[in-house]
């Protein structure tokens, strides 16, 4: 049974942006589910951090939100990645790679 952990600190925004880039417009619940799914159930997005994070992304202009009618006929609010958001995502991915490589280098170097 996969252990459910919260999303690593500082990565939620990046994950949300990536999910939106890959999966197109999604509403909040769907974003949380997608992250959970793609991480093979390793990562669980707490609702308490999802919505504040989405609001921050809206404030920064990295996503935009519109009300649409879903397939089930409910009104839902879908988030879409903006061009600025795509740029920000690229930037964060680069940073994340850089940090990961640095950490990996330390760990591998320590084992040598």
């Amino acid at each position: 049974m996969p252990r459910e952990t919260g999303v690593p600190t500082g990565t939620l925004a990046m994950l949300i942006l990536q999910v939106l880039r890959a999966g197109g417009p999604l509403h909040g619940y769907a974003i949380a589910q997608r992250i959970h799914l793609l991480s093979s159930s390793e990562l669980k997005v707490e609702e308490g951090s999802l919505y504040p994070s989405l609001q921050k992304l809206l404030a920064e202009g990295w996503v935009k939100a519109d009300w649409v009618v879903s397939e089930t006929g409910r009104k839902v609010r879908e988030y879409t990645l903006t061009r600025a958001g795509a740029k920000q995502l690229d930037h964060e991915l680069r940073e994340y790679e850089r940090m990961s490589a640095a950490v990996r280098a330390v760990l591998e170097g320590g084992n040598a």
Binding site: Y29, E46, Y51, P52, Q55, L58, E60, G61, R77
Partner: protein, 846 residues
């Protein structure tokens, strides 16, 4: 930028966006398997709100609403605080308004940067005007100036019949082209108008008030000084030219003899009656203009040595400095600094008072703060809350202060005849000042109680009734600060009172009772020199023939008249010398004794004889035995024939002036004044009747010299009234502060007092217990305040233009008495309450 716009957009549509978020979260919850895990929607909404960066605004509004609620529950405290702050802020704003109009606000003139005004200067004297012919010479021979503009202020009667007085400026034809700021109606002067029919332009103020804003008046004929002129235009609103004070209308200087028939002013090379302005050529600075003028004056001295000395020059002052020369700016700065310091002192007293009230007010909310701390509020949170509450008070204070300031400045204008309109709608600068004062008061008034309250770990004030040696030391310090400010203001009040008292009772060295002053504006009617002498001779013979007139003399200016030529001599430092030309009868008639030497004789001239005042002799020569010596010492221009006893003829408030008497010469007769001592019971109308018989062309004006004296007292009277009201305000505030502190002490130490009374303490001991905390701050505050007022400010107050002598033990004694009496009166109530405490009830904690 976009981020900011998005944030502002959120703020404007907050309601809708928050509802959207709520719906969204609700929908999310519904589809969750375990809705309970969603968490608190309220907390999530708050966190979401923080993400937009407006959390601080929410918290501030919360504090403001809370503060307003608290203040509504304590209306007396709120109203008192707002009123006190309002008066303190208002006083400062009123002063700033006046200073703004007088010194800071750019003058309402076209392109003021290029405009300068010229003063006629020599090593020993200065004059603000130049002779008409000098100005025209400068215009014809200008090298550094693009234009020369002439202005002469005057008074005329406007309207049919006797008309109403109007303040006018006679100007050169290029005045509006060079200085004007646009036209409201009709047109303004052009240079060609100088050769045409008499025309007039009126000010906007005059047109809307005296002429009822009648648009149809343009082109109509008006009556000025009994003759006709055509009204051609109304100047732009607020324009009054380069002169300070009111200007109702402008007339052309070239047409002056139309209004004053026979006027020879425009022929004058000697009377400094015209204000001369210039527009600098591009690239030429003030120094360049002064150099050019110096050259011109040297030319004139060469051509007309009888009228111009070789060491004269024309000094310049820029429009940016309101056409004030350096020494006038210096004096204005000194006065402004002093008045500014005093009014800030009032604000200090006001803030200290309100802060003291605030400390007591916060003390009463101990439970509230304890609860807040228990709920997790940190020190910073409590501080922020209290400062926000005091900001609410400050906003009220600023609004109240704005109206107080407006009212005060309007009153000042009305009593001083200083006629620059004050603004009710704030200019940017005034608004900035008001807000600045508001911030300062908010911090001053809020931080102290806030710091005090939170210092006790947020536990608020002590339990009711538990004594503490350090109880209220903040309040004692605030009371001390208030007392310092109050005493400084009281010292100024006492000194102005003593000054006025001395002036009213003073002996100025001459007798003015029953003396009337007769002025005839002969120059403007075309009398010069010998004609003037003949006029006065004729008038004198009419008067002397009448038994109701006891004595008559003529002098260049009347005692108690307006300022005359003033000099400073290097040989007599620190003394200002006022020149007055007199006939030999003058000294006898004014009862001024001659201490040495002789009176003037017929045949004495300016070049041969002077009589010096006693103070001047002592300062310049070290003795009064100076008859026969040259005056002045270093470069004698005349011989001293006599020494007159000190007589303060013109500047009655000053302590550093002395008179210098010259024989009255024929050339000065046209501008002279007649003095007549009337027998008891004789009225001015009799004098006017007699005077009118001398020459049908001239209508002399007569007034009592004593009335001129009263007019001179207006300045010191005004100073006394203002400082009395401000001093009273400060005393009341101090009394309130004392009352607050003593009442607070009593309420805190009720149990202790009950115990002591139960153990046999008498009334005296209880009173000392309660008042003990008062003595030190009030005592120290009084000593410091009086020291600042007498020693610190003493030098500034003793000089021009206040002339307040700080060595007044009676006055200082009065300050101490007022302070003690007000303190005792304020403390009486709470002390009485302490004495009436029932020990049993106190011990039960009631």
């Amino acid at each position: 930028m976009m981020r900011l716009l998005r944030r502002i957009g959120y703020l404007l549509q907050r309601g809708r966006l928050e509802r959207d978020l709520e719906c969204e979260m609700e929908a999310h919850r519904e589809v969750m398997g375990e809705p309970a895990r969603f968490g608190s929607m309220l907390r999530l909404r708050e966190e979401a709100r923080e993400a937009w960066g407006w959390g601080w605004l929410d918290r501030t509004m919360q504090d403001v609403r809370h503060g307003t609620r608290i203040l509504r529950k304590r209306p007396l405290y709120a109203v008192t605080a707002v009123a006190v702050l309002g008066i303190g802020i208002g006083l400062n704003l009123a002063l700033a308004q006046v200073l703004n109009a007088v010194a800071w606000k750019p003058m309402m003139l076209r392109d003021p940067d290029g405009l300068v005004r010229f003063f006629r200067l020599s090593p020993n004297s200065s004059s603000s005007g130049v002779p008409y012919q000098v100005a025209r010479y400068a215009e014809r021979n200008r090298t550094a100036l693009d234009a020369v503009i002439l202005v002469q202020t005057n008074r005329v009667s406007w309207g049919e019949g006797d008309g109403q007085p109007a303040a006018v400026s006679f100007v050169s034809g290029n005045f509006f082209a060079q200085m004007g700021k646009g036209v409201r109606l009709g047109r303004l002067f052009q240079e060609e108008d100088e050769q045409g029919v008499p025309v007039a332009v009126v000010s906007h103020q005059f047109w809307s008030s005296r002429l009822n804003g009648d648009v149809g008046m343009m082109g109509s004929v008006v009556t000025v000084n009994g003759v006709k002129a055509t009204l051609i235009g109304v100047a732009a609103e607020g324009f009054h030219g380069p002169v300070e004070g009111r200007c109702d209308a402008w007339l052309l200087m070239e047409q002056m003899d139309h209004y004053f028939p026979g006027s020879r002013e425009r022929e004058s090379w000697t009377s400094n009656n015209v204000n001369m302005y210039g527009r600098l050529k591009p690239g030429v600075g003030m120094q360049g203009a002064e150099d050019a003028m110096r050259g011109m004056m040297r030319e004139l001295a060469g051509m007309y040595p009888q009228w111009f000395a070789k060491d004269e020059w024309l000094g310049a002052a820029a429009a940016g400095d309101h056409f004030r020369r350096a020494q006038d700016r210096q004096m204005l700065l000194t006065v402004a600094a002093l008045l500014g310091g005093l009014s800030l002192m009032v604000l200090l007293v006001a803030c200290a008072n309100v802060a003291g009230l605030g400390v007591a007010h916060a003390a009463a909310r101990g439970n509230e703060f304890r609860m807040r701390t228990a709920l997790g509020a940190g020190r910073a949170r409590l501080l922020r809350q209290l400062v926000t509450e005091s900001a609410v008070l400050s906003i009220g204070g600023v609004l109240c202060g704005w109206f107080v300031g407006y009212g005060l400045s309007q009153w000042l204008c009305s009593v001083t005849e200083f006629d620059t309109p004050m603004e009710i709608v704030p200019s940017g600068r005034m608004m900035g000042l008001a807000m600045g004062l508001g911030w300062v008061t908010a911090l001053a008034v809020g931080l102290i109680p806030a710091w005090r309250v939170t210092r006790q770990n947020g536990a608020g004030m002590r339990e009711h009734g538990v004594a503490s040696g350090r109880a209220g030391w903040t309040q004692r310090a605030l009371l001390g600060a208030q007392t310092v400010g109050t005493c400084v203001l009281l010292v100024v009040t006492a000194l102005t009172a003593r000054k006025l008292e001395r002036l009213v009772a003073a002996d100025f060295g001459f007798r003015m009772e029953g003396v009337a002053v007769v002025e005839a504006a002969l120059l403007q009617h075309g009398f010069v020199g010998e004609q003037g002498r003949q006029y006065w001779t004729s008038l004198r013979s009419v008067l002397e023939a009448d038994p109701r007139v006891a004595e008559v003399t003529v002098s260049s200016v009347a005692p108690m008249g307006r300022t005359v030529m003033e000099s400073r001599y290097n040989d007599a430092p620190g003394i200002k010398v006022t020149h007055i030309s007199v006939e030999p009868e003058f000294f006898g008639m004014m009862r001024i004794p001659l201490l040495r030497g002789r009176n003037f004789e017929r045949g004495d001239t300016r070049r041969t004889a002077v009589i010096v005042g006693q103070r001047l002799a002592e300062r310049m020569y070290g003795s009064v035995d100076v008859v026969g010596r040259g005056f002045p010492v270093s470069e004698p221009e005349a011989t001293i024939v006599g020494v007159a006893a000190n007589a303060t003829l013109i500047k009655i408030t000053a302590t550093d002036v002395s008179e210098l008497y010259h024989p009255l010469e024929t050339a000065e007769m046209a501008g002279a004044t007649l003095l007549a001592r009337l027998r008891d019971g004789v009225g001015l109308d009799k004098l006017r009747d007699l005077a009118a018989r001398a020459d049908g062309r001239v209508r002399p004006q007569a007034r009592w010299m004593a009335a001129d004296f009263e007019r001179k007292l207006q300045g010191p009277r005004l100073m006394w009234e203002v400082s009395r009201n401000v001093g009273a305000f400060a005393v009341i505030l101090s009394a309130v502060g004392i009352f607050g502190l003593v009442a607070y002490t009593v309420s805190l130490r009720t149990r202790e007092i009950g115990v002591r009374v139960a153990l046999g303490a008498g009334a005296r001991q209880i009173a000392m217990l309660v008042l003990g905390g008062l003595m030190l701050p009030v005592g120290v505050g009084a000593v410091v305040g009086i020291a600042i007022g007498t020693l610190g400010l003493g030098r500034l107050l003793a000089g021009d233009p206040f002339y307040l002598d700080p060595r007044e033990p009676v006055a200082i004694g009065g300050v101490v008495a007022v302070l003690v009496v007000s303190a005792m009166a304020a403390a009486a109530g709470p002390v009485q309450r302490a004495l009436r405490i029932d020990p049993a009830a106190a011990l039960r904690g009631e």
